[in-house]
């Protein structure tokens, strides 16, 4: 009769680590189990949906009147970056000067920190989530604003994401 296979404490611990998704018992003497969270260095973002809510799909259009922005005052936010992707179109209808930029400090208007809007010509920005658009001026001006969604981009991204996840699952035999 063959002697029973001997396993060490170390080999039992290693076999547990091979399946990090399963909760591990606390080592002797400890009461808090290890977490099942993956790498905490990767920021968590909501997965792109393949169905678009009505709110994210709407178009906004209005006329924005700039106020004289004083030194040290908070720079107004024209677009707060709440959509995954958006197309923002701006047309300055008066003489300016009006500057826009992604930084919260874009004054003075001639400093180059922001981009000066030309009068009578449409300027278009495609902005991803989280990027705010600030606007400042030293005069009262009319700026026509149109914010359009890029819904198809979001749907395509979600579909590609799903396909990629399915391909990985097929290759590894594991669900992601």
């Amino acid at each position: 009769m063959a002697p029973p296979k001997r396993t060490t404490m170390l080999s039992r611990v290693v076999s547990k680590i091979a399946n990090p998704g399963r909760p591990m018992k606390a080592p002797d003497g400890g009461k808090v189990g290890m977490t099942t969270l993956g790498s905490r260095a990767v920021p968590q973002v909501p997965a792109a949906g393949d169905t678009i809510s009505a709110g994210a799909n709407r178009t906004q259009t209005y006329t924005y009147f700039t106020a004289i922005t004083g030194t040290g005052a908070d720079i107004p936010i024209l677009y707060n970056g709440d959509r995954l992707w958006a197309r923002v179109k701006l047309t300055l209808e008066t003489a300016g000067p009006v500057v826009v930029g992604e930084k919260s400090q874009i004054l003075p208007v001639t400093s180059g920190k922001g981009r000066q809007l030309p009068t009578g010509r449409e300027v278009e920005y495609v902005i991803s989530k989280g990027t705010k658009l600030y606007i400042a001026s030293t005069t009262v001006n009319r700026v026509s604003v149109t914010i359009e969604p890029l819904a198809w981009l979001e749907q395509i991204f979600a579909t590609l994401n799903r396909l990629a996840g399915g391909a990985v699952a097929l290759a590894t035999g594991k669900r992601s």
């Binding site: 009147f65 004289i68 004083g70 004054l107």
Partner: protein, 253 residues
């Protein structure tokens, strides 16, 4: 200076593409301001003044204030930005507050003190300037509108009565007196001011008896000269109604 000052910002909020500053001057030292930048500036159609100063912020000149003068045939095209966030350099007087870098409008013509009395009426000149908030699509105005005055009577019961009319830069005047009977006389003089209360006076028509019916005098700049003001004086004291028609024009006739 009229209060409250006309605001260029209202033109922006109202959706207009230009700001028109149209105001009667109150004193020789009137200065008006605009907080708006402009693509072009021109004399307005109803301006009595033939020249208007436009002062703006420019770091290239001493005091940071540069000036361009608008005329009847010399509008200004080119963007001028109102630097509301900065100030013109203070004068040497330390007690003088700094002036914000707005665009400033003021008369370039010498304007007299406006003094009304029982024997005279002075018409204050009108300042009319157009500031374009968008690039102008056509040519800018080159001449002012003809200016017409009609007076139904001169109150000469107490003696002579004078009316002073602004004539800055005009090249033609048609002045007509009309009475039903004789007894009154009319005189026309031209004024060129060298100070707010002093002028060189030129007689364009000496005192002429009004014999009932029309009396006409044409003033042409190439012959008679340029004047800041035209004075019409009627005297006689008969109390007869004297109708007077006046037309000033920028177009030679």
């Amino acid at each position: 200076m009229t209060y409250p000052q006309p605001s260029a910002n209202e033109a922006v909020v109202d959706g207009r593409d230009s700001f028109r500053l149209l105001t009667q001057l109150v004193s020789p030292g009137d200065i008006y301001q605009s907080e708006q930048s402009g693509f072009a500036f021109a004399l307005g159609p109803q301006s009595d003044l033939s020249r208007i100063n436009v002062d703006y912020f420019d770091n290239n000149v001493a005091g940071s204030m540069q000036r361009v003068v608008l005329g009847t045939r010399t509008p200004y095209t080119g963007i001028i930005q109102a630097r509301n966030e900065t100030t013109y350099e203070a004068a040497t007087n330390a007690g003088r507050p700094p002036v914000p870098g707005h665009i400033l409008f003021s008369p370039a013509n010498l304007v007299p003190k406006i003094v009304q009395s029982a024997s005279q009426q002075v018409f204050a000149p009108v300042l009319d300037v157009i500031q374009y908030l968008q690039p102008p699509s056509g040519t800018l105005p080159q001449v002012r509108n003809d200016k017409d005055y009609f007076f139904n009577d001169f109150p000469t019961a107490g003696g002579a009565y004078s009316i002073f009319l602004p004539f800055y830069g005009r090249v033609f005047a048609d002045i007509r007196f009309n009475t039903s009977a004789g007894g009154e006389s009319a005189r026309i003089r031209g004024y060129n001011y060298y100070s707010s209360s002093g002028a060189i006076i030129t007689t364009l028509m000496a005192a002429t008896a009004l014999a009932g019916g029309p009396l006409q005098k044409l003033v042409r700049a190439p012959v008679d000269g340029f004047f800041d003001y035209i004075e019409l004086t009627v005297s006689g004291g008969t109390g007869l109604a004297i109708q007077t028609f006046v037309r000033f024009s920028d177009i030679p006739q």
